[in-house]
Structures are given as C-alpha cells and as structure tokens.
C-alpha cells in the first residue's frame, strides 16, 4: 500500500523568483527540522510551460506518471493579459511512520503573462536546483519559452505525435536536437514494439531472416503517424536500408519501399487503425517463408507466426499496458538516459516524409 502523502504549501501573489526560492528553502529547512527522516529528492528538475486554461489537464497528466516524478517541478501557466507573477509552492512528502527515509518532492506553479516568456530564464533559473539536469516540456507550443530557456535546458521532452501533422512534429524534434537531448513520447510509444521485434529475431535461427525481410506493415492510431514513422525508420536504420519518401496510399496511410544494399526492396506500409488510445495497434513483418504479426491484446501483444512448412503459431507475449500516464513517466525517466538509436531513426523518419502528401 502506498504511504500517505502530506503537503506543506506556500503561496504569494505578485511575487518574484527570489521570494519563491526563499520560500522553498524555508519550507525545506522547517520540514527537515520537524522530521529528520525526510530528505529531498534530487534527481532532476522539470519545467513545464502551459496555457493556463489547460493547466489542470497537464497537472493531471503529471500526477499520473507513477513513481517517475521529477524532484522539483516548475509549472509556468501562461495567461493572456497577466503582467504579475503569482506563485504556489507545494512540498509533498511521504509518511515515514513505518521507518526508513521519506522523500520530499517540490512543485511550484507560477501564473504569468506572455510578456514574461522572453525573459523566462530569469524567472526560472533561480528556482531550479542547479546541480541537477533540467527537462523542459512545452506541450502547448510556447516557442519563445523554449528559446529563452535554451541555456538551462539539458533535455527537451516533446511528443511528435502531438503536432498537427507528423512531419511538423518530427521536424521540431530534429530542430530541438541541435540544442538539447530530445525525449520524444512518440518514440517511447514504440519501445515495446522495438523490444518485441528485437526479441523475435534474436534466436540465431531467426536472425538470418532479418536480411530477408520483404515487407513491414505498421498499424497505428490515425493521430500516431509519427510513432509509426519512427518505428519504420528504426528498423530501416538498424538494418541499414536505403529509404525513399513514402507516399499516400489513397488516404489510407502511407506506403513505399526501402532497399537493401543488394538492391532488394522491402515493402513498407503504415496503415491507420481504429484504436481508442494513442500509439501503435500492430505490426507485421514478412520474409520469404516466414511472417510475424504482433497486435495489441489484453495482457500484452498477440503474436501470430507463420513458418512455411511448419504451420501457424499464436501466443500472447505478456506485458502490461503503460497507458499515456506511464509513457509520460517513462519520458521523465528517459531524461536521465541516452538512447543512441533515436537520432538515426528520426533522420530516416524525416526522409520518409520528404514528399509525403
């Protein structure tokens, strides 16, 4: 059972960063003096810039990240017409009655106006914990905030599925890569699929089939084209396929070809599928004499394998769905890691989109 969580709260209208910083220090000092078994989490800072009207939705998403909370979250809520800063700081901590160390997490909400964004660094910098990596997430755009915080941002969290079209999302991710490490939630939606494909072709007898792939089809929620492109691009980049732009399949997704070094082609298809949740619905890999499909199912992925001369096998690959809350939490966690395969996949994915219509 989860430990009970208590909170200390400070709030001030028409405040400034020094006052917020002083309040955080004082809350920490007095809480630690009252209970020395409490210690502040010191893993990473998360700065979130949102439209104030949608603050609640983002706060709810952040509350659902499971155990992957940032140590200090600074939520900047932007509201038209506002020219002062109002702030609330909350220090939450677990009950340590059962013994052990209790972890303190801090969150700060600052209501601000659009005019503040160009100088956002001067507001946020005094409040971040300086020795920790800082992650920036701007789910509602706010390019001026991204530019202003470039100097203190180590990691940019974004969702390339969250843009009006996949090309724009992937282009933004590529652009942000120039100044910071990018954690892309669209990429993280592909993780179980990448793991399962890697595992399916891991047995030595099966690995040879990688060089004989003839087709790769991805079924995805219509709004998750970026995820689908990234998965196709991942396979292409790992197997060093020569790729070409994909074209529209008469409004039913994208299709095209990639080529191996021996000029053999692979048929690529990205097909929208009816699915309530964002992300991928299934994949099918076909090779000469072999095909493997993985599709979402209760309790994991349903695998269907057909081997020429050996018939068809079907089984459930176990794994719990992480949900969108879990994917955001995974995004926070990934900010501390480095995935060397995202960059090459992103580059190929951009190439897929070069002339897509």
């Amino acid at each position: 059972m989860a430990a009970a969580v208590s909170e200390d709260v400070w709030a001030e209208q028409n405040t400034d960063p020094d006052a917020i910083d002083a309040a955080l220090r004082e809350m920490l000092r007095s809480r630690h003096a009252a209970n020395q078994t409490l210690a502040p989490a010191r893993v990473l800072n998360l700065i979130v810039v949102v439209d104030r009207a949608w603050k609640g939705e983002i706060s709810n998403r952040l509350a659902r990240v499971g155990r992957y909370h940032a140590s200090r979250t600074i939520l900047c809520a932007v509201e038209d017409g506002r020219d002062t800063l109002d702030a609330t700081a909350v220090m939450s901590y677990e009950d340590t009655a059962g013994g052990g160390i209790g972890v303190i997490r801090e969150s700060v909400e600052i209501d601000m106006g659009p005019e503040h964004l160009s100088g956002l660094e001067t507001i946020v910098d005094p409040i971040v914990i300086s020795e920790l990596p800082t992650v920036l997430w701007c789910p509602h755009g706010h390019d001026d905030a991204i530019a202003a915080l470039q100097g203190i941002t180590d990691v940019i969290l974004l969702d390339s599925d969250d843009f009006p079209d996949a090309d724009e999302g992937l282009a933004r991710a590529q652009e942000e890569q120039r100044s910071a490490y990018v954690v892309d939630l669209a990429w993280l939606r592909t993780t179980p699929w990448r793991e399962r494909l890697a595992a399916s072709f891991d047995p030595p007898a099966r690995r040879a089939s990688l060089a004989a792939i003839e087709g790769f089809t991805i079924r995805h929620q219509a709004a998750s084209t970026a995820s689908a492109l990234l998965l196709a691009a991942w396979l292409a980049s790992r197997l060093q396929w020569d790729t070409r732009p994909l074209v529209s399949a008469n409004g039913a997704g994208l299709h095209g070809r990639a080529y191996t070094s021996s000029s053999r082609y692979i048929d690529l298809r990205l097909e929208p599928a009816a699915q309530d949740v964002p992300g991928l619905a299934g994949v099918t890999v076909t090779c000469a004499g072999y095909s493997l499909s993985l599709d979402r199912a209760h309790g994991g992925l349903r695998a269907n394998e057909t081997i020429a001369g050996h018939g068809e096998h079907s089984w459930l690959v176990l794994g719990a769905s992480r949900g969108e809350g879990g994917i955001l939490g995974e995004g926070v966690r990934q900010a501390l890691l480095r995935d060397p395969t995202y960059g090459p996949a992103l580059e190929v994915a951009r190439g897929f989109q070069a002339h897509a219509g």
């Binding site: 052990g100 399962r196 890697a198 595992a199 030595p204 176990l318």
Partner: protein, 515 residues
C-alpha cells in the same frame, strides 16, 4: 565461458538490440522444483509476475511447477495466483496475471521418482511442439538441499541436461553444501551431469541493487580507489543484524546456525566485492576470477586459532521492540542443550598486497537491537591534528558506510567545523540514498537473477571454485565449534547488540559500530 559467450553473441550480432534497456531473452521453459514451497510462494512466483508485467519475460515463456503435493494444474494455478496477489511488489494487472497463470503446468511426484522426469519430458516436448521450436530449459531447484544432487542426477538420467538446439541451465538455491566436503561432493555430483557454465548457484544478495552498487562505487569513481587499501583503511566491519528470532524455522536453523546461514554466503560475498581487484570487464568470468583471487587470499585459520578469531553466541530472553521474547533454547523445536549459534563474529585478514594488515570484522546475529546490513569502512586517522578537541567530540576518522538494508545508500562521515567563534570539529554525514537519488524503485533481487539465469549471464551467480573457496575459509571454524562440546556458549540478551565477548576480536582502536 559459455555464459559470457552467450551474452556477447546477443549483444554483438543482433542489430535490433542497440539502445534497448531490456535485452531479449531466448524462448524458455522454466521448471521450478519445489514449486509449492515457501520460496516459490513468496519470491519466485511474484518475481515472475513482475517480469511478465514489465514485458521482460521471453517471447515464448512456459513454466512448470514440480513438487510432491498431489494436485491438479488448476490447484497449482490458484496457489500461484494467490502468491502473486499477496507478495507482488505491485498490484497485479488482471489481464497479465491471467495470461501468466493460465499457461502454468504442474507435475506432481517425488523428486527421486523416474516417472516425474518422464512426465516432465512429455510436458517440455509439448511446449516445443506448440512453439514450433526447441525452447531453452531452466531448471530451478528451490527444494530442500538434500534433493539437489538427486534432481540433478535424475535430470541427467532422463536426458534433460542437454538439448540439441537450445540451452539448458540449472539454478541451485542456497545452501550449496553444509561444509567444504559436502560442497565439493555436491559440485562433483552436479558437474557430472551439467557443465559449469550451465550451473547457476544463487545467492540472492548478489541480485540486490546496493550490492551491485558496491562495484559501481569502487570502480566508477576516482574518489575511492586511491584510498581503498592498507595505507588508508584502518579496518572494515560488515554487519548483518536481524531483529527477529528464528520464527518457525528451528528445523532448518538448528542444523545451520548463523555462520552457515549468513556468513559463508552473503557476508563473504560482500567481503569479496569490497576487496577484489578491478575486473577488466564486467562479465561473468572476469568478475568471478577476481572474487576467487581475493577469497583465496583469505588464509583459513587453523582450528587451534579459531577461539582467538571467532566468537559464537546464542540469544537469551530479552525485550525487542518493547516486547518480551524468549531465549533461543525456549524457541519451539530447539533442543534444550542446543549449541547452535545465533550470533557469529569473525576477524579475517586478506593476505595480499592491497590488504595486508587490515582487519575485517564480520558479525551477524538474530534478535539483535536493530535490523541492518551494512559495510563500514573506517579510514586511518589524519597523521597530524592541528585542531584542538576541547569542547567537541573532536576529529574522528572518516567512515564510508554502505547500507544494504533497510535504507539502501552510501554515507561518508567527514569532520566539519561547528559554527561559532572557535575551531571545533565534529563529524557530519554526506549521504546518498536510493530513494532520493533515483526515481525507480529497486526490483526484487529474484527478478534480476531469474532473468540473468534465463539469459545465461552468470555474473551474479557463484562459480563452483568460488563456493569451495568460501567454504574453505569457514570450514575450520565449523570444525572447532563442532568439536568443542564443553565450553559454555556466550549468551546475549535479545534486543541488545550481541555478546561482549565479541569485543575481544577487535584490534587497536576499533570498536563495533552501534546497531
């Protein structure tokens, strides 16, 4: 060598695994002998569920429980479900749990009955047919130790120790042997059937994050290694204290005692990791080669030397956590004249260039004042003291404390100036705690170890020569304590820090850390 080769093969040849945190595990059928026992109930089945939840089990995964209890598949499934619901570290997802449980199979019978192995073979063949491929086999021996050689032998006789196109591994729980001779005997019996790379001797301490972090602390930080030697370290204490008695385990504990229960395995592993030389690579044989070297540098005492380097004791009645508790002799199932130790303390020396002259103190016991497992490394005092100690506790030697449980972390004690007009010094702590420095909770040790065994990575398992080296150090102490049937066994009141006799082991300025 095979295990390292398997890992290397996976990492080098599959182009799809780059960047993945979770490496693939080949299709596997896991067979748990003793599947209705306490370990399976509390640890193994919940660990398997958590691996399933995270999508970490192999693509094709099958599990068979083997035990003496006569029951049907469904009864075993119900039992497994209850174990998982009760002991899993996370609330089970119904659909994943159902997916795991529905496929479980059960084979009843005595472990020495050939029919059990014929039945098992049929079930495993059925799995292979269903999968359209030969699955790897992992046989997990979670039984009473007397069955280890029996099961290994029967697996060999049934031809289940090898597969044509797949790997076969055997995981053997502790205790691996009762003394040096029995450990050698068991090694010989197991290795008659399986090759060493197929054998995974488990010590679940090695699966703990904090224990693995010992290597990270030493070999990923330039801060510690320069002082990690006889020139700077005064002494080391390794403590594994428990604040509970033997519970209902008198049958096991009377035959084991504190030395076998914790020192020979867990505590000696901590000592080996603390003192070994840096391996050239973090792979199974390189790490275990270094551990073996340092264990072989611990010269086993002559039997006549044991009284001066080892102390045993038993807990008497006392108060623990405000409750009165009975002494060991009054525990149910304990012989009134039992000489089994519930407390053991040792002083060991590592006779090599790095550690010559540094005493290593190990102590463990039941019904002590507090539950704590830690390593305390005490550095030598500074050579010249410019500060006066008047008005303060003064300058104390630095200590590096690695806590394995309950609060996993590392702390370093430093001398710092007390605020005020005079230069007074007192120790302060710099602390690293897992809970505040990492967002993720540590997985259960068994999750990591089961996965490693299925992957064929033996780094965190004990090799045959290593286990014999561990027993060789302990064996003379066991012999002396066994042969000495007349000396009174020191007693300590339950809820205290142990017997005062243990103080006699300490050399120089050393003193036992407060529990």
């Amino acid at each position: 060598m095979q295990s390292a080769a398997v890992a290397t093969e996976v990492e080098q040849d599959n182009p799809l695994i780059a960047g993945l945190e979770r490496l693939p595990v080949r299709p596997t059928a896991l067979v748990i002998f003793g599947a209705t026992g306490d370990l399976a109930h509390r640890k193994l089945l919940p660990a398997l569920y958590n691996l399933a939840h995270e999508g970490a089990l192999p693509e094709r995964f099958e599990m068979v429980g083997v035990a003496r209890r006569d029951q049907e598949h469904n009864e075993f499934r119900d039992m497994a479900k209850e174990s998982i619901e009760r002991f899993s570290r996370r609330r089970p997802d119904e659909s994943v749990l159902k997916g795991l449980i529905d496929e479980l199979r059960y084979v009843p019978g005595e472990f020495d009955d050939d029919d059990v192995y014929s039945h098992l073979r049929r079930v495993l063949n059925e799995f292979d047919q269903r999968a359209g491929q030969e699955l790897n086999h992992v046989f997990y021996l979670s039984t009473a130790p007397q069955f280890f050689p029996v099961i290994a032998g029967k697996l060999g006789a049934a031809g289940l120790n090898r597969a044509r196109d797949a790997e076969t591994r055997i995981v053997i729980e502790k205790p691996f042997g009762y003394d040096l001779a029995s450990a050698r005997q068991l090694n010989a019996e197991v290795l008659e059937v399986f090759d060493e790379p197929q054998v995974f001797r488990i010590d679940h301490y090695l699966g703990k994050e904090t224990v693995q972090n010992l290597m990270a602390l030493r070999f990923a930080n330039a801060l510690f290694e320069p002082v990690w030697n006889r020139n700077f370290i005064d002494y080391v204490q390794i403590t594994a204290a428990e604040d509970i008695g033997i519970g209902g385990r008198a049958g096991y504990y009377e035959g084991a005692g504190a030395l076998r229960d914790l020192v020979q395995n867990h505590m000696m592993q901590l000592l080996a990791l603390l003192t070994m030389e840096p391996p050239t690579a973090f792979d199974a044989d390189r790490v275990r080669d270094e551990k073996l070297k340092v264990l072989e540098a611990i010269v086993p005492p002559a039997v006549s030397e044991v009284p001066s380097m080892a102390v045993r004791a038993q807990y008497g009645p006392g108060t623990v956590g405000g409750k009165r508790v009975v002494g060991y002799h009054d525990e149910e199932g304990v012989a009134p004249d039992s000489r089994t130790e519930t407390y053991a303390a040792l002083r060991l020396h590592v006779s090599n260039w790095r550690w010559a002259g540094v005493p290593f103190y190990l102590r463990t016991g039941k019904q002590l004042a507090r539950k704590v497992t830690e390593i305390a490394v005490t550095l030598k005092p500074v050579p010249h003291l410019a500060f006066k100690s008047q008005g303060s506790v003064g300058v104390q030697p630095n200590q590096i404390i690695l806590t394995v449980q309950p609060d996993e972390g590392v702390s370093v004690s430093l001398g710092a100036k007390i605020p005020g007009p005079t230069m007074r010094i007192r120790p302060v702590n710099m602390e690293f705690r897992y809970g505040t420095s990492f967002m993720s909770e540590s997985p259960e040790a068994y999750e990591r170890l089961i996965l490693d065994a299925m992957r064929g990575d033996a780094t965190l398992f004990t090799r045959g020569d290593e286990i014999e080296a561990l027993w060789a150090i302990i064996d003379p102490i066991l012999t002396e304590w066994h042969e000495d049937t007349t000396s009174p066994i020191p007693q300590y009141a339950a809820g205290t820090a142990g017997p005062p006799e243990a103080d006699a082991l300490l050399e120089g300025n050393a003193k036992w850390r407060r529990l």
